[in-house]
């Protein structure tokens, strides 16, 4: 029973989230705009908030850690993800690379679909081989970083204190990621102690994949509608 409840709660959160639109909120935006010079703590907070309320990043991370049991593996994969998104976050904002946020967010949606399909053993079963999971996490991490960069760029950051503010934002993203992952891993380990985990693992990844498809459809439509 508990698993069904957990599943439906998870679903409810994931389905409710797109309506909230995954951007730095208007109020935060006007704060960022009025900021001139370094504002370490506020940017750490904004980065952490962005990650904790960023269902697309979270959905991908759930997929990544879904079948990771050892802390060592979790740390390894999450570090790869972190390296990936930090590179493109910093390079994107500092280098002034303006990626189309709809395309980037659609690719982030694709990363969720990819990971769910991988968790379902789709690659092994259908294609007879599984692409290197570490490289996949790193590459998708790069796209997630571009997504973070486009969100920050929409805010028209002041040049003054830019580097300190981006580093703070990035640091906040990592804090938010650790907070969110702790909750996810705790829930998963609790769930794994029950036999139902294995009964519902496949169904859960199907649900995760559906979420990824929704994100993709949402962003692709946005690309053509905007």
């Amino acid at each position: 029973m508990l698993k069904c409840v957990l599943l439906s709660i998870g679903f409810a959160i994931l389905l409710a989230a797109p309506a909230l639109a995954h951007n730095v909120s208007r109020r935060d935006a006007s704060f960022v705009q009025s900021t001139h010079g370094a504002a370490i703590a506020p940017f750490i907070y904004l980065g952490a908030k962005h990650m904790v309320t960023g269902y697309d990043h979270l959905a991908f991370l759930v997929g990544v850690v879904f079948f990771l049991y050892k802390l060592k593996d979790i740390v390894l994969y999450v570090s790869l993800f972190t390296v990936g998104h930090s590179i493109t976050l910093l390079a994107g904002v500092l280098g002034g690379i303006h990626a189309n946020s709809y395309i980037i967010d659609a690719i982030i949606g694709l990363s969720v679909v990819y990971k769910a399909f991988d968790n379902m053993d789709g690659f092994k079963r259908l294609f007879g081989f599984e692409p290197n999971t570490k490289i996949a996490v790193l590459i998708f991490g790069l796209f997630h970083g571009f997504g973070l960069a486009t969100k920050l760029q929409e805010l028209d950051l002041a040049r003054n204190g830019l580097i300190a503010n981006i580093l703070s934002f990035n640091f906040g993203v990592e804090i938010g990621q650790i907070l969110a992952l702790t909750a996810v891993v705790l829930l998963l380990s609790y769930w794994r102690a029950h036999a139902a985990f294995f009964r519902y693992a496949f169904a859960t990844n199907t649900a995760l994949m559906a979420t990824g498809f929704v994100l993709m459809g949402y962003q692709i439509t946005g690309y053509f509608a905007a």
Binding site: P18, R27, S34, M120, N160, M209
Partner: protein
């Protein structure tokens, strides 16, 4: 992902394909029934209207154009961290004299202004960013160095952090009185008449 000891029961190729198809179908239904009506007002199934979801997209601000950064301050209001200041100055300009009053404002801060003169004065409304490429750099907002004017009223949003204000010059043969009032989110004011460094003016918090 390689699952070690507790391997969930392996699924057949058919089951994986079926699950993928189910995921896609569920996603398409959610998209068309809820997300697209709520986010973009695209409502082919009329479910958005039925559930009242299309109101969300109408209420939302227009989606930013793809890929281009949008200046957020172009909204209806811009919140400021503190209260605004008020200032009023009376200036007497003899024939051939000039004077300047400038307010220090952060980028995006705004003020209301009004000045009236007893005769025509030439003026330039301009600003100097704190960080400027060279010593003499300034940005001109409004200039009348020909016929001159007796007044000017308006609202102003600082395009850069720096000092923003007016230079007036009396080119007539008689003395001109100028009365300036401002209210805005500036933090200091200076008058420049004789010394290039300027003299600080006393400004007050809004009551």
């Amino acid at each position: 992902m390689t699952a070690s000891a507790n391997v969930p029961e392996t699924r057949s190729t058919g089951a994986i394909l079926k699950a993928t198809a189910v995921a896609l179908l569920v996603a398409v239904v959610i998209l068309f029934a809820a997300v697209l009506p709520a986010e973009y007002g695209i409502d082919p199934l009329r479910t958005g209207k039925l559930l009242g979801l299309t109101g969300i997209s109408k209420a939302a601000e227009p989606a930013p154009a793809a890929g281009r950064p949008v200046p957020v301050a172009a909204g209806v209001f811009t919140a400021q961290p503190g209260t605004y200041k008020v200032d009023s100055e009376d200036l007497a300009l003899g024939p051939g004299e000039g004077v300047e009053i400038k307010y220090h404002m952060k980028k995006g801060a705004s003020m209301l202004y009004a000045w009236k003169a007893s005769g025509k004065v030439q003026f330039e409304f301009h600003g100097e960013p704190d960080q400027k490429p060279n010593k003499d750099y300034y940005e001109s907002y409004e200039l009348d160095n020909k016929l001159g004017r007796e007044n000017s009223f308006g609202s102003f949003t600082a395009p850069t952090t720096g000092i923003h204000g007016w230079f007036w010059e009396n080119k007539s043969k008689s003395e001109v009185m100028i009365h300036l009032t401002t209210a805005g989110f500036y933090d200091s004011a200076k008058m420049y008449s004789d010394s290039p460094a300027g003299e600080p003016l006393t400004i007050e918090d809004a009551k």
